[in-house]
Amino acid sequence: DAGITQSPRHKVTETGTPVTLRCHQTENHRYMYWYRQDPGHGLRLIHYSYGVKDTDKGEVSDGYSVSRSKTEDFLLTLESATSSQTSVYFCAISDPKQGQGVETQYFGPGTRLLVL
C-alpha cells in the first residue's frame, strides 16, 4: 500500500446520494485505475486514467464517472448511488515502460462502500 492512499476507507450512504472516492499517490505513476471487488466476480475495472485529464472506461463503467486534474489524484464519483454499487473499491497505479502496456499494478488499501 505504500505510496497510495484511499479516502474514505469506509462509507455508508443512502440510495440516490452522490458519493466521491479519492485515490492519492505519491509515486508519480502515469496510470491510475479504479476497480470494484465483489464475491463471485473478482476484481473488475471501472475506469482508468493514462494521464492528467485522460481517462477511459473499463468493464463496468455504467453509473460511475472519474476525474484526474492532477497526476497524484484520481477521483471516482457515483452520481446517484444504488444498492448494486455496494462493494469494495480499490485504486491501483502503474508506470508502464514505453510501449510495454500495463505492467505491474500497485493497489491501495481499498474503500468499503455500503449503499442502503
Binding site: 473478482g42 473499463g58 499494478q105 481499498g110
Partner: protein, 112 residues
C-alpha cells in the same frame, strides 16, 4: 471476450507441502500473465509476472509456468507455510495493452 478463470474452491493443504494453483485463459495468449496475493481486508500485492516466451519463472519459494498450448498458468508454492494462506489472483493483459483482466482468485489455506 478475454476470460481468465481460477478455481473458486478453496485449496487446503498441509504445511510443508507444495501448493499448486491453476489459471486458465481463453482466446489468444496474452503477452504476459501476472500473479497477485491478497490478504483479507487489503489490496492485492504483485508477486510475479511471466511473459509469453517464458516457460517458467521462479522467485524464492514461488514458481510460475506459462503453457500457451494448454492456455494455462500454474502457480506453485513449495514448502508452504501457514503465512502463505491468502487469496491468489491471476491477471492477463488485454490485447491493447492498456488494462488487466483478473480472475476470481483461489483461496489457499495452509494448515500447520
Amino acid at each position: 471476450s478475454q476470460k481468465i478463470e481460477q478455481n473458486s474452491e478453496a485449496l487446503n493443504i498441509q504445511e510443508g507441502k507444495t501448493a499448486t494453483l491453476t489459471c486458465n485463459y481463453t482466446n489468444y495468449s496474452p503477452a504476459y500473465l501476472q500473479w497477485y496475493r491478497q490478504d483479507p481486508g487489503r489490496g492485492p500485492v504483485f508477486l510475479l509476472l511471466i511473459r509469453e516466451n517464458e516457460k517458467e519463472k521462479r522467485k524464492e519459494r514461488l514458481k510460475v509456468t506459462f503453457d500457451t498450448t494448454l492456455k494455462q498458468s500454474l502457480f506453485h508454492i513449495t514448502a508452504s507455510q501457514p503465512a502463505d494462506s491468502a487469496t491468489y489472483l491471476c491477471a492477463r493483459r488485454n490485447n491493447a495493452g492498456n488494462m488487466l483482466t483478473f480472475g476470481g482468485g483461489t483461496r489457499l489455506m495452509v494448515k500447520p
